[in-house]
């Protein structure tokens, strides 16, 4: 199977998965005990109002018909109205998504480069104190739920050592930059407001660290293990014999194959960053889509819940495709069409 075929196959499979996902989400939104019309309009609504709401939202039709209405709406970018904000869910999502994208982007960078750098360092100093510290941290990373890390960081930077602002996207005195992409750091840089950009970056840093920390140390450990295992392989011993400089050897010939296991794990971690963002954003009062989704969940706002999960599902599937392609690129057994 060559790379092109592999990618096409992967994308086709993802479409099936996304269709299935939409059915699952629709079913979840419909297993709710109670009358959706009553839940949306409240206890004071009149009978006519309820009936009108049902007709408007096709609630009297059979479930497959309802699904058909819902999915055609979703395909046109219409997720219905949110009952908590009284606006179109799609509009809400567009408003809150950039903040989440921003923080997930920075923590992705941290996750990738942090884990590779730390892993390399630990592999270089195998079985020393540095290696031991990484081991302890990677165990802690497994065992610490994201919200615990976030709360401990909040305790540290919010109260004890107030060098970095932790709550919200900007300090109170700052005005938000003009809306271009919705990413504050990028917008501020584009409009030339460097002070705002720096402030926004500082605000992002702690949530991004809280989000990335657990996965970063685990992936660093994977990089380290793969590097240690590969370093005794024959081709590297031969290279050493030929006198290839150690730096070239480490960076070009040792690191690349050692990244394969870590990259597939990183993909899972990056994708689940979005899931973990649910708690981190709430803790740091970050006005992102996860915070919106969580408040929708607590208020049983069904349209908003299904919209948010649908968006997350599509992003998750897309990230997985990208990861598979990167892995395929790194692994010549797949790239060149051999192996199985």
């Amino acid at each position: 199977m060559n790379l092109k075929k592999f990618i096409i196959h992967r994308i086709l499979l993802s479409i099936v998965v996304i269709i299935g996902l939409s059915i699952v989400i629709f079913s979840i939104a419909r297993i709710v005990p109670g009358d959706p019309a009553r839940m949306a309009l409240g206890a004071t609504a009149t009978k006519e109002a309820l009936e009108n709401f049902r007709i408007e939202n096709h609630l009297n039709e059979s479930l497959p018909v309802q699904y058909f209405y819902w999915i055609t709406g979703v395909l046109q970018g219409n997720f219905g109205m949110s009952t908590t904000t009284d606006r179109a869910v799609a509009k809400d999502i567009l408003q809150f998504l950039p903040a989440t994208v921003e923080v997930v982007f920075f923590s992705t960078l941290l996750l990738i480069f942090g884990s590779i750098l730390i892993g390399k360092l630990a592999a270089k100093h195998k079985d020393t104190v540095i290696d031991g510290i990484l081991r302890v941290f990677s165990y802690a990373g497994v065992a610490m739920p994201g919200f615990v890390v976030a709360i401990l960081l909040l305790l540290l930077f919010g109260y004890m050592w107030q060098v970095i602002p932790v709550l919200g996207r900007l300090s109170p005195g700052m005005t938000a930059p003009a809306h271009i992409t919705g990413l504050y750091v990028l917008d501020a840089l584009l409009t030339g407001k460097f002070a705002v950009a720096w402030d926004a970056f500082l605000h992002i840093s702690i949530p991004a660290v809280a989000l990335a920390l657990g996965g970063m140390f685990q992936d660093a450990r994977l990089v380290r293990n793969a590097m240690v295992e590969n370093s005794s392989k024959d081709y590297l011993v031969a290279m050493k014999g030929y006198g290839v400089p150690e730096k070239v050897m480490n960076n070009k010939y040792l690191l690349k194959p050692s990244l394969i296991p870590a990259v597939s794990c990183m993909g899972m971690d990056i994708a689940s960053l979005m899931g973990n963002a649910f708690l981190i954003e709430t803790i740091f009062s970050w006005p992102g889509i996860s915070k919106y989704g969580l408040s929708a969940m607590l208020a049983k706002d069904l349209n908003a819940i299904s919209g948010v999960i649908m968006v997350f599902g599509v992003v998750f599937v897309a990230v997985n495709i990208i990861v598979d392609i990167v892995v395929a690129y790194l692994d010549p057994r797949i790239r060149l069409g051999g192996g199985n």
Partner: protein, 317 residues
């Protein structure tokens, strides 16, 4: 005459003793003992696994004996003592008290009960479902059954697990049972995927083909031939998963979708405590530490069980 008879009896007894020694049942008993010793050796070679086992045993015992060993068993419920609100850790309250004057240590130990109950029940339901579906799909690889089961599994694995659990828990009433349902819904696909892998490799093995040729039924092949070969990976994953279920459960209760107050749960204690930071830091820090310790314990033990069940010397298992 009498002497001869005695000799004969002794001879017979000696023969009998030798025969008994060779009896297969007794041998099997010895073998089992030997196997146990070997397993323990593999398990205990990594000192961390032993630490994990000890932690897990302590946590389980503490949860079972909670009413007898906690200093203030009454504090596990809706109890208020305004004289002792937010007391710092000290002699009287080892880990301090919360905003209602309740002992944190007591509440942590009681919340182990809900956490363990949840993980046992979730795994008891999710593992058989996932295993049976995975074996079915693996054995019938290439048929429509395989396609349907594995595509459904893919769909469930295509959303972040935490998100799906949050969504299911949120549309149901918030309580412990519903949070368990939510976690179970997202948990079985992982076992399905795991067992599917072992089952597909098993079905081409000679013993399965042999059983098929001898006219064994599908049920026999799936449960008697394939299942035993999947057991070690299932058990290893289960031991590791107890910690994960506790983590997800704590997360759900942190956002208020798990066990409802006044029954204590770890996530809810952390979330309550975060409102009293930094002055009453003990309200947040100790329940957080308890979560970390319990999950680490199960993870270390799970690694040990993985070593134990792995074939070969288990050096890197």
């Amino acid at each position: 005459m009498a002497v001869n008879r005695e000799k004969e009896i002794q001879k017979a007894l000696a023969f009998e003793a030798k025969r008994v020694e060779k009896r297969p049942i007794l041998n099997a008993k010895n073998n089992r003992l030997e196997n146990l010793k070997k397993a323990w050796y593999k398990f205990s070679r990594n000192k961390l696994s032993v630490v994990g086992l000890i932690t897990v045993v302590i946590v389980i015992l503490a949860a079972i004996l909670a009413p007898y060993i906690t200093p203030y068993p009454k504090h596990a419920g809706a109890f208020t003592d305004f004289a002792n609100v937010c007391k710092a850790p000290g002699k009287e309250y080892l880990l301090g008290t919360d905003n209602m004057g309740r002992d944190i240590l007591t509440r942590i130990i009681y919340s182990f009960r809900g956490a363990l109950y949840m993980s046992i029940l979730v795994l008891a339901i999710a593992v058989p479902i996932g295993t049976i579906l995975g074996m079915l799909a693996g054995y019938m690889k290439g048929t429509i059954v395989d396609t349907i089961i594995m595509r459904i599994t893919d769909i469930f694995l295509s959303v972040p697990a935490m998100l799906l659990a949050l969504a299911v828990a949120s549309v149901l009433e918030p309580n412990l049972t519903n949070s368990m349902i939510a976690v179970t819904v997202m948990w079985w696909p992982w076992y399905c995927r795991l067992v599917y892998g072992s089952a597909t490799s098993c079905r081409q093995e000679n013993f399965v083909i042999g059983a098929d040729l001898m006219g064994a039924g599908k049920m026999h092949i799936i449960f008697k031939e394939i299942l035993p070969n999947c057991m070690s990976s299932i058990f290893t994953k289960m031991a590791l998963d107890v910690g994960w279920v506790i983590l997800i459960g704590a997360t759900l209760s942190f956002v208020g979708l798990g066990e409802q107050p006044p029954t204590p749960s770890l996530g809810q204690m952390v979330s309550d405590g975060s409102r009293y930071m930094p002055d009453a830091w003990w309200m947040t820090v100790f329940p957080s530490l308890a979560i970390v310790i319990i999950i680490l314990g199960f993870n270390f033990m799970g690694d040990g069980i993985g070593d134990m069940l792995s074939k070969g010397d288990g050096k890197n298992g």
